[in-house]
Subunit: 221 residues, 2 copies
């Protein structure tokens, strides 16, 4: 797994223009969306010529596909190194993952919302290549939860028929929806609230009570 790249504000070192363009795309698109982010702006941000851009990417669409894959590379180490994996109980690992999602949802919305969720909202009908790359990145992230859900299903027989795959996908649905509502309200509160509801659902489904201090996000009344 690649080491975690540095912030997108960093200037490219020689030969690193491709990575710098990808990281500029992540930062700009998370703040202003895909279509609003032009090749010109990307080049200005990174300090390269359009020739350099087209040396690395055949088109803006090609950059979008690469950036959707790069988003996974960019974020995976953050999750892989998080402490929630240390819990012995698989459901505690899942609760820990959801708490971690809440804990990193601070600061400006564009710092914790999702490059691929934003990009696919705009491009699903106009670029199947970008849509597929975004879908693949969401799927890959969700799949990393499946092992813990599979173990939780074995350990705590759920009250209704579910699969590790559909629960993992549902976590991503709730998080992506939390981003949309948080953007609409201009605060992270809807995301934190949604994470608390999702944890509550899992505690009912697996009949494993939540610990008191984590039963609902601190923004709940």
């Amino acid at each position: 797994m690649a080491a975690r790249p540095q912030s997108s504000t960093v200037r490219p070192v020689r030969g690193d223009a491709r990575v710098a363009l990808l990281e500029a795309a992540l930062a700009l698109v998370r703040k202003q969306g895909w279509a609003a982010t032009s090749i010109d702006q990307l080049c200005r941000t990174v300090g390269v010529t359009k020739g350099a851009f087209f040396h690395h990417f055949a088109s803006k669409e090609a950059l979008g596909v690469a950036a959707a894959h790069y988003w996974d590379t960019f974020t995976a180490p953050l999750f892989a190194s998080a402490k929630y994996h240390q819990h012995a109980d698989p459901l505690d690992r899942i609760y820990g993952y959801l708490d971690f999602r809440g804990s990193i949802a601070g600061g400006p919305l564009e710092d914790f919302t999702c490059f691929v969720g934003t990009t696919v909202q705009e491009t699903f009908a106009t670029s199947d290549a970008i849509r597929a790359a975004c879908g693949e990145t969401i799927r890959a992230h969700a799949e990393r939860l499946e092992g813990d859900f599979r173990a939780a299903i074995a350990l705590y027989p759920p009250r209704t028929r579910v699969t590790a795959a559909n629960l993992a996908r549902y976590t991503q649905t709730v998080i992506q929806g939390g981003f949309v509502l948080s953007k609409a309200q201009g605060t992270n509160a809807p995301l934190l609230e949604a994470l608390a509801h999702l944890k509550q659902y899992l505690s009912f489904l697996f009949e494993k009570p939540l610990k008191k201090e984590t039963s609902h996000g601190k923004r709940r009344r």
Copy 2:
């Protein structure tokens, strides 16, 4: 409440250019996003001059604010006239609302996904006026569920502390996330799956079992 407007493909009748521009904005933005939709394209679609556009809207941003409010006018009658309101039990009305959301999620994704959810993803940091208008429309839609949630809370004391407002907001979070995942996968399956999980959560929360035929969406394995 305004009568339901006609399809956005309709050509404006005399004096109706404002509504035609708003409906063109809804259709184009749902398919290709906010920034990708230009004033020129709106004018071409509707068959009016840029002068006519600026007669009705001071700027593209002003159109965005108006369209976010118009989206509520456009969609509210569809929900107001739906049959789920006829259930005697408030929780059945909520389940019916969620089933209705699933039932209208057919055809091309741009025909059932959300104008304001798409627009706010892109504009939250660059136009506070559009963000606020989108937030207001989501809030207004969620609020129409609050009465039923309030009645459900009174009738079926929930297993954990919730409010009508936070449950109503959570329904919108799940639906918006379902749109994002559906776009990423190019199918309505993630939305239907998410609606089924949400119904299951409510059935656990209120300890009112789901009827067998509605316990999980048909796309569940």
